[in-house]
Symmetry: C2
Subunit: 138 residues, 2 copies
């Protein structure tokens, strides 16, 4: 039998992972993109919305709706940058960080379950390859 294609395998696996992730996020009142945006803010606040859009691979115009809701939920703040008042600095609130960490823990648990039958060595190689293939694209 021929080896299945990467695109096929990745599509299928991502579909599964997302199906398992969705209820976790919904439980926190979030959709997939909301979570991606929160995640991008973990380390540092985003100096501009355009940069945040680029970091998440989202269009800058579509990011706006997400930020509107996240702000409404009290999970992020948008504050004008005093140095250049065209920019709006987006940051996590304490509540935003709390929600984010909770989702993270639940998702990690889900992933461990998804990978439970994979031998540790294979899992390490798997994650190593994934990381390596993704990193250079930044």
């Amino acid at each position: 039998m021929e080896r299945p294609e990467l695109g096929y395998l990745l599509t299928r696996l991502l579909r599964t992972a997302m199906a398992r992730e969705e209820p976790i996020l919904a439980n926190a009142g979030l959709r997939m993109w909301d979570y991606a945006v929160l995640s991008a803010l973990t380390e540092n606040a985003a100096p501009t919305q355009a940069q945040l859009a680029a970091a998440t691979g989202r269009d800058k115009t579509r990011l706006i709706g997400n930020l509107d809701q996240l702000e409404r939920l009290g999970l992020v703040t948008r504050e004008p940058d005093p140095a250049d008042r065209r920019n709006r600095v987006v940051s996590l609130t304490a509540e935003g960080r709390r929600i984010l960490e909770r989702c993270r823990a639940d998702i990690r648990e889900m992933e461990d379950d998804l990978l439970r039958d994979v031998p540790p060595g294979d899992r390490e190689a798997f994650e190593r390859v994934l990381t390596r293939l993704v990193d250079p694209l930044d």
Copy 2:
């Protein structure tokens, strides 16, 4: 640094893979879904469109547009099943198979290039895990 999440990595990698795959398919006059449908027909013709829809993870109503175009391009045929004339058997034409094989070869080449810096052992483990995680979902 914390390990990045599966969903994040898969999304990024799939995005890259698709970006590289799109021009190959466009070169053959196909879109992503057309290719997925053709691929599903490699081994056998699909006895019903509903089964083909299920096999490709596509909605049966959305499959129709794809089949319309693939038929227009002369890549597949839809023939009423004599045993039950409600069913329409979908098969590859010779031309369909030719186009499919050409795309396949190009895509395999693209994948080899994408994975060129991955050590062979890691690559094998990577594909083994992907396959294993996807298979049980059938």
